[in-house]
Symmetry: none
Subunit: 269 residues, 2 copies
DNA sequence: TCACAAACGATCAATATCGATCATATTGCA
DNA sequence: TGCAATATGATCGATATTGATCGTTTGTGA
């Protein structure tokens, strides 16, 4: 990864939340601590961010902390490393110029960091995703119309005749609350509604779920496994669950987790 | 492949993505590193791009123009006091719970400051207005769907069947580039398109223009004076111009500047 | 206060990129 | 065709960036 690209990613991340750690940036950019420190130092003298012990913080007022309360940013730190690794693999599936749809959610939001250097038409129903992409990338951003729901952070119209129907993409990316033999499960009826509007606007459905989601259950089923083209998850997935996807004809991508295991292996004997 | 062709490809690539690597260009043009370096060096001295280690980046203003941070930086400070006073009067027309439509623009943007304590359904096609209302007010915010145009800061769909048609309000607020005997004038065709979609969704059209706009002319006419219900402007308006509005049956509200803002605006006709 | 761990800065080797040079290929023109 | 001019590709030493490893500093909690 090149210097400019890292800088963009770091700045992108530092806007999303007020303070980022060196470790997070290491995971995000897949480079060493030393490099990240040098980057932060360089960006600091450029006054593009402020260097603090442990990482960096935004030079300007928060600007980006979730919209309404906190449902977004609370969830944000939960399994952040996994979500980022998963998001990275998801973005790797995309080719420049290829239109994609990104459904709102905390996992899919992580995709924005890896989309900063890309240039593609992106349709989303997530206000924060649209906002971040607008401010930190050159992608063409399209947003669904309707009421902005603060808690879910999505834009949803009660009508069927909105602009959503006029957008088509090869791939749609979405998260979920659970994934089991019966298919994709969601917790919030509002999200189901939003997802159902988008799900038919793309050929391939790519589902981003950390491995804990295979053990989650919910009462609302969005669609069956057969509708899913690809699942991106982390290495916490169990053989039985992988088998389930395989028999359903779902492609599986396991995102490698970058850090967090070094402590274990470096023994003290 | 000819030199000109490579240059064209490189420039095209660097416009699409913020930064391109030498390697990418080698693959794209099927030529050697040395050639690409020479090309980049040549384009660099021509100031068509900026050379950086590992590749090249777009010459355009370092990073993010458009909305980033401050919505409309240049226009923002221009006549800010007047615009604020005008926006205050415009918001004073609204009753809590009454739905309104706010068209994007620098003057209408000022309305957000006076809407922070209100609670009403607000429909807008302006991304910054929606963003600000979301973060700093409890109003119900509805946004039109479509592509987000960075320069104009509006969301516009090329289709007629978007959610805009499903929203109705008593009043619509909009700015303009000029206001003369022939009616409301706008400079940007894109804005005309956006405004035409909204203009029929409200009974009363309220136009917010500082008094300098009475002397501005433009080539694109949005609608005649008769379509306008109310004009809000500042005390720089001349008698002749007020007369013009009166004979057209347009209500006029003159906003006083901040200094004596305890006084109510003088309503004339 | 002390011990400990995390974060830091400096250094060095490995790697990637660059710039210069020369050999080769292509083009333009007589 | 033959020749000169230019463009291109390859090579190699010079330079810059990166990642790892030190010892040191800073923050934390007992």
């Amino acid at each position: 990864m090149h210097e400019k690209e890292r800088h963009r990613i770091i700045l992108s991340a530092v806007q999303e939340k007020p303070v980022v750690t060196v470790q997070e940036m290491v995971e995000l950019t897949d480079s060493s601590e030393a490099t990240i420190r040098r980057d932060i130092a360089a960006l600091h003298v450029q006054k593009r961010l402020r260097r603090v012990r442990g990482g960096a913080e935004a030079i300007s007022p928060p600007q980006f902390i979730g919209l309404a309360g906190r449902p977004f940013s609370v969830n944000e730190t939960l399994n952040a490393a996994q979500k980022r690794a998963i998001a990275r693999e998801a973005v790797n599936l995309c080719a420049d110029g290829e239109p994609i749809i990104i459904n709102g959610g905390t996992t899919t939001f992580q995709m924005v960091h890896f989309l900063t250097g890309r240039r593609m038409p992106i349709f989303t129903n997530s206000f924060p995703i649209a906002e971040h992409l607008l401010k930190h990338s050159k992608n063409t951003v399209m947003l669904s119309g309707g009421t902005i729901y603060r808690e879910q952070n999505i834009v949803l119209s009660p009508f069927d005749n909105d602009v959503t129907r006029n957008f088509y993409a090869r791939r749609m990316f979405m998260g979920a609350q659970g994934l089991g033999p019966l298919g994709l499960m969601e917790g919030d009826p509002l999200l189901i509604q939003a997802e159902q509007k988008l799900i038919d606007q793309a050929d391939e459905l790519v589902v981003l779920v950390d491995s804990s989601k295979f053990r989650m259950r919910s009462s609302l089923i969005l669609c069956g496994l057969s509708r899913i083209a690809t699942v991106v998850t982390d290495d916490g997935i169990e053989d039985r669950e992988a088998k389930m996807l395989e028999t359903a004809g779902v492609a599986l991508i396991v995102a490698r987790r970058q850090s967090s295991d070094k402590e274990e292996s470096s023994l003290q004997a």
